[in-house]
C-alpha cells in the first residue's frame, strides 16, 4: 500500500557492490530523494570545469547565483536577511504528492534554501513510507514541481531561492515516470 522509496535520506545504506561500469548511470543520480537541481548543497554532476565555465560565462556584471556558497555569506545570515518580506509573515502553499490522498500545506517563509524545503517535504510525507527496504529506488523517484504566478508548472530548483518563493503558488511531488512522460528530463 505505501509507496516504497519515500523518505530516502542522504545517509541511506545501499546494498550491493560499489558501482562498476554499467551502473554508472545509477551512480550519476543524486541520493536525495527529490531531484532538485541547483540545490544549494551542491549539484553533483557538474565538474570543476563546468562550474568554472558557469562563472566565466557569467562575466562581469552578471549574477553569481549559479555558484554554490558564493559570496561566502553564512547560512544563518542568509536566512535572516535579504528577504524583502517581513519576517513572520506566512507564505503557505499547498503541497500535493502523487499517491497521497490528502494535500498538505507548507510555509516557505522560514526556509532560506532548497535543501531545507526538501527536508521539510520529506518530513511532511514521511508517514507514507511503510517500507524500510530500498529496492526499486529508481522506479520510485519523484520530482518536485511548482506552479508559478503565471500558472505554469516549473521544475523546482532552477532559479535562486528568493525568486522561487516569490513566484511559487503551489507544489506538487510528481512520480518520475510521469515526469518522463511529459518530457521533463531530470
Amino acid at each position: 500500500m505505501g509507496t516504497p522509496g519515500l523518505g530516502l535520506e542522504i545517509t541511506e545504506l545501499r546494498l550491493g557492490l560499489p558501482c562498476m561500469g554499467g551502473k554508472s548511470k545509477a551512480a550519476e543520480k543524486k541520493r536525495a530523494f527529490w531531484e532538485i537541481d541547483g540545490e544549494e548543497d551542491g549539484s553533483s554532476s557538474t565538474t570543476t570545469e563546468e562550474k568554472t565555465q558557469k562563472v566565466e560565462s557569467g562575466g562581469k556584471g552578471s549574477g553569481n547565483q549559479v555558484v554554490v556558497g558564493w559570496p561566502p555569506v553564512c547560512s544563518y545570515r542568509r536566512k535572516n536577511s535579504f528577504n524583502g518580506r517581513e519576517k513572520g509573515s506566512k507564505t503557505y502553499v499547498k503541497v500535493s504528492m502523487d499517491g497521497a490522498p490528502i494535500l498538505r500545506k507548507i510555509d516557505l517563509g522560514p526556509f532560506g534554501e532548497y535543501s531545507e524545503l526538501t527536508r521539510a517535504l520529506q518530513k511532511l510525507f514521511h508517514s507514507f513510507d511503510h517500507s524500510e527496504k530500498l529496492k526499486d529506488a529508481e522506479n520510485n523517484e519523484y520530482v518536485t514541481i511548482y506552479e508559478d504566478k503565471d500558472g505554469d508548472w516549473m521544475l523546482v530548483g532552477d532559479v535562486p531561492w528568493e525568486m522561487f518563493t516569490e513566484s511559487c503558488k503551489r507544489l506538487r511531488i510528481m512520480k518520475n515516470a510521469d515526469a518522463k512522460g511529459i518530457g521533463l528530463h531530470v
Partner: protein, 583 residues
Amino acid sequence: MAYSFPEEVLEYVFSFINSDKDRNAVSLVCKSWYEIERWCRRRIFIGNCYAVTPGIMVRRFPEIRSVEIKGKPHFADFNLVPEGWGGYVYPWVVAMSRAYPWLEEIRLKRMVVSDECLELISKSFKNFKVLVMSSCEGFSTDGLASIVANCRNLKELDLRESEVEDLSGHWLSHFPDTCTSLVSLNIACLASEVSFSALERLVSRCPNLKSLQLNRAVPLEKLPNLLRGAPQLVELGTGAYSAELRPELLSNLFDAFTVCKELKGLSGFWDVVPAYLPAIYPVCNGLTSLNLSYATIQSPDISKLISQCQNLERLWVLDYIEDSGLDILATCCKNLEELRVFPSDPYGVEQNVALTEQGLVSVSEGCPKLQSVLYFCRRMSNAALVTIARNRPNLIRFRLCIIEARATDYLTLEPLDAGFGAIVENCRELRRLSLSGLLTDRVFEYIGKHAKKLEMLSIAFAGDGDLGLHHVLSGCESLRKLEIRDSPFGDKALLANAAKLETMRSLWMSSCSVSYGACKLLGQRLPRLNVEVIDERGTPESRPESCPIEKLYIYRTVAGPRFDTPGFIWTMDEEGNTPLGIA
C-alpha cells in the same frame, strides 16, 4: 627517584597553568608530570571531533569539568558540506555521562545535537552550568525544555546561530521559579514567541544576568520593562526594533537605557525603525561592541549613531554604512579593533551602495588599533591593499571578499597578487587570511615566503596550478587550517607535501583537480591522517583513477577512520585497498 616537590605541590603549581598549549607541554616533561597533569586537567578543547575518540579522552583525562568540541569544517557555513556529513555529539555525551558526573560546561560548534542528547545532558550532570551551541543543528525547542527544566544551576544557555526546530516558545516556561542562577541567555536564533511574562520574571529574578540576546519575536514595547528588570546587563541583543511612532515609547525606552550603566555590547536591531535609535544614546559612550549587521538602516543614521560611540572596539555593520560612514568611523572611534562589513545585497548584480575599497582604507588610516577585518565589497585595487598593509602592520585577521569571483584590480585590470602580497609582507602577525579576486600563483609565492604566523587560509577561485598550493604548504610554517574551493590545485603539490598535512588540523579542497588515485596514495602514505573523499556521484571506484573527486577532507587523527560516514564519503585506507565506506 628523588623529586624536589611532592605531587600535591606540583598539582598546585599546575592549577595556575590554563592554556592548552602549556598544559600539553607540561605533560611531555616526564611520565610523572604526565600523570599528575592528566588528573588535574579540568578543561579540554577538541578542535576536530574526529581527531580523537570520546573513549580516548575520558581514559586520559578523568576529571574534566569543561569540554569544547568542534565538528563540521568551516565551509559547511556556505553549504559546501553535504547534508548528513556527520559531527554528531551524541557519542561524546554518552561517554561523558558515564565518566564525568561533575561536568559543568559543554561548548559546541557546527555539531549535530539531538533532543535525546540534550535530555541526556540535562539528566546526567548534576552541576551542569554552561551550554553553548554555535551553528549547531538537529534539535528542537523540546530539547531546550529538558535543559532548562532539569539543570538547576544553569548559568549560560547560548544558542548562537544554531538551527533549531522551533516547535513553540513554550520551552522557556520550563525554567523553574526557583532558578536565579542565569548569567547569559541567547535565544536570538529562535523564531517563535516565548511567553513574555515568563521571560520578564526570569530576567528580574536573576541578579547575575549579564548577557541577554532576545529573539525577533520580542517586540520593542516589551524592552523597557525587561531592561528595568536587569539594569546590570553588560550585553543586550534587542528583539525587533520597530514599532509605530509613539513618543511615550521612545521616552520610555530612553529612560530604560539610561538605567543600564554597565551596558557594553548591543546587537539585534531587527527590522529597525530609525526614529527609535536615539533611545540608545544614553549607552553609546560606554559601548565597546555594536552589531548592526541585521539593521537595514542607511548611512546617515548609522553615522549619527557611531559618532557617539567613541569607545567602540568592535563594529559589525552592513555595507549601508558606505564609504562616508566609514570615514566617520575612522574619525570618531580610535579604539576600534575589529570591523566587519557584511553585504546587503550579495546576490544582486549591480552595486547598490556607495561602499568601495576607500572605506576600508580610511579605517585603516584612522584606527591605529585595528587588527581584525572582514570586508565585503565590489571592487578593490592593489594600491588600496598596499596602503592598508602599510597603515596597519598590526593586522591579525584579514578577510576580504570581493563579491565577483576573480575580479581584477579595477584600476589596472591586473591580478591582486601584489596587494595581498603587501598584506602578508607587512602584517607579520597575521594569523588568518581569506583571499578573493583574481589571483595567480604569485600571491601564493608571497604567502609562502612571508606569512610565517598564518594559521588559517581560505582560498577560492584562485591560482594557476600546483605550484601555488606547493608554495603555501611548504612555506607557511604555522598553518593549521587550509580550505580551498574551485582552484586548479592537484595531485603534485599534495603528494610532494604530504608530511605537512600531519602538522595541520585539517585540509579541505572542493572543486579542485585532485584525482582519486592521489587520494588513495595519500591514504596509504599517511596512516595518521584520515583522507576522506566526498563525492555525491557515487563511488569513485566506478570512475578512472585519474578522475578528479568532488571534495576532499583530510585531517590528522588518533582515532582511525570514522564509523559514522554517510554513503557519499570514502575513507582511503592504509593498504591502498578498496576504500572503507558504506557503499
